[in-house]
Amino acid sequence: MNFVRFAVRRLLEMAATLLGASFVVFGAMYLAPGNPASFLLGGRSASPAALAAIDRQYHLNDPFIEQYARWLGNILHGDFGRSIEYRTDVSHLLSSRLPTTLLLVGMALVVVVLLGLALGWAGAVRGGATDSAILVGTTFAIGTPAFVAAILLQGFLAVELGWFPSSGSGSGDGIAAMLWHLTLPAIALALYLVGMLARVTRSAMLEQLTSEHVAVARSRGIPERHVISRHVFRNALGAVLTTAGLIVSSLLVCTVLVETAFSVGGVGQLLELSSTTKDFPVVQAISLIIVALFMTVNLIIDLLLPVVDPRITLGTRATG
């Protein structure tokens, strides 16, 4: 299959899945118990005139499929509707908070990639006590939910020792202050994924280490560090790349926990605030964006895999 046809087919598949996702996100609100207008008001009482106005504003008397089509059409034009709580456009709310969250996710991603690959590499190559220590360490990293890591880091490093700020994002005080404020949140966000990536890297490299091509490379007198970097790690990279989609979606979703713990004013905190206040247009928009980003990353990985590992022909990887 040639590259363009594969790319087009995957794009169409992604569009279909996104359509399904948008249907779920919209349908969840439509199926909500009670009258949609009072639901939109979040349980606050309102005059009949106000209710009628909401009915008109949100087109609540139209058939479901028409409402869905209008909602979807608006989103395709970049209009995510209006927030009930903040009385402003959702896209405006998001764009003011997105930079903080992207910086946080980016910092966590750097930690995950550097530390995860390094620990997995060290465990596979060193073996012995190093490997055992890394195995036990990653077991605990995988068992630590992001919010627990956030609370523990905040309790000890920020409040007890005062090494780091305990809350806020430091936005407005320049990039250095933001990096400083987001250090602990990024570590908390990264911890679980560092453990997971280290595990995947380690087992993929161990599998390569016992393979014949490595024995051949060694017997030909190639220096060990070249064997490891060019033959073992390079071949393990394919398996490592398949986890990228999971890493990105997990980072995005867990920002809701970490940003709440550290009171970082990003998209994650907005998701928490809007789901407790039933500000549904915001919840819908953020859910859809997370799903779309996850699928975009997966698409990029599918297209990149044959470049990283030429033995893989396009589209043959087992999904997931």
Binding site: M29, I142, G155, S275
Partner: protein
């Protein structure tokens, strides 16, 4: 040898030896947590909801072994009684996703056809929805209570179980014993239910133990956001939520204790589950 008498080698291997210290400690801890949850009303030293405001944020003492939280409630008692909610939710998720996912996966793998293609389509859709996100979506619509998040997480976990069961059934279907039973005149359903399902069960169950840990993480995270579990119900995630502001003022104990218990419980379930998975698959690490 007695091996010939063992009908289901997978389940027998679950009880096999070669137990590392980490596995033994984990299995012991799982047993302890389950026992505490079952016996909670009898071993909790205080009522978990009794408020002694004058005693708020008190340090550990003989009467309150783990101290008192910001609302004046005994931390140890909330921890003990909270074990119930904190384990019941994940149990619901695991039971539902295993039964439904297992059934879908077995039928899809055994029969193929439209159910198989429907499964792979919906799996792609559900994989795009992380469990926590779906749970937030559901609870924001249906309000507080444990049911909405448990249903949401069950739906999110279902495709993983279904995919595993499907691939196991596909491999099992090709094995000679299936053909042998068919030749002897056993019906397809009969072979599937009486022989294939018991043979794949150990692998699926081992995976479910690992899923229990993930469900616990997701549900505790949801309680930490103040969603799901109702406000006064003792629950580990909720305790961290309640203790959040006390941390800022330098009284971390009431939040840190449930944090540590969550980590230990999840690690214990993961270690036991992975150990079983390695055992039934005949892997060595």
């Amino acid at each position: 040898m007695t091996m010939t008498l063992v009908r289901r080698p997978g389940l027998a291997r679950l009880r096999a030896t070669d137990r590392g210290p980490l596995y033994l400690a984990s299995a012991g801890f799982v047993g302890l947590v389950v026992a505490v949850a079952l016996l909670a009303p009898w071993i909790a030293p205080h009522d978990p909801n009794t408020v002694e405001l004058g005693n708020a944020l008190a340090a550990p003492s003989g009467d309150h072994l783990l101290g008192v939280d910001a609302a004046g409630r005994d931390t140890l008692s909330r921890l003990v009684v909270g074990a119930r909610t904190s384990l019941l939710g994940p149990l619901g998720v695991v039971v539902f996703s295993t039964l439904a996912g297992g059934a879908v996966g077995v039928v899809a793998g055994w029969r193929g056809g439209w159910l198989d293609s429907l499964l792979s389509r919906t799996t792609e859709l559900t994989l795009a929805f992380p469990g926590l996100l779906l749970a937030i979506l559901f609870t924001s619509v249906y309000g507080e209570g444990l049911l909405a998040p448990v249903v949401a997480l069950s739906i999110a976990y279902l495709p993983y179980v279904a995919r595993l069961a499907r691939s196991l059934v596909l491999a099992e279907r090709e094995r000679p014993y299936v053909a042998a039973y068919r030749v002897q005149g056993h019906s397809g359903t009969d072979v599937c239910l009486r022989h294939v399902v018991p043979n794949i069960a150990p692998v699926v169950l081992a995976q479910c133990t690992v899923n229990f840990g993930y469900a616990l993480i997701d549900l505790a995270g949801l309680s930490f956001l103040g969603l799901g579990v109702p406000a006064l119900t003792p629950d580990w995630g909720r305790m961290v939520f309640d203790g959040k502001s006390a941390i800022q003022s330098g009284y971390p104990l009431s939040a840190i204790v449930p944090c540590l218990v969550i980590i230990l419980t999840v690690v214990a379930f993961n270690v036991v589950g992975e150990h079983w998975a390695d055992k039934v698959a005949g892997r060595n690490r």
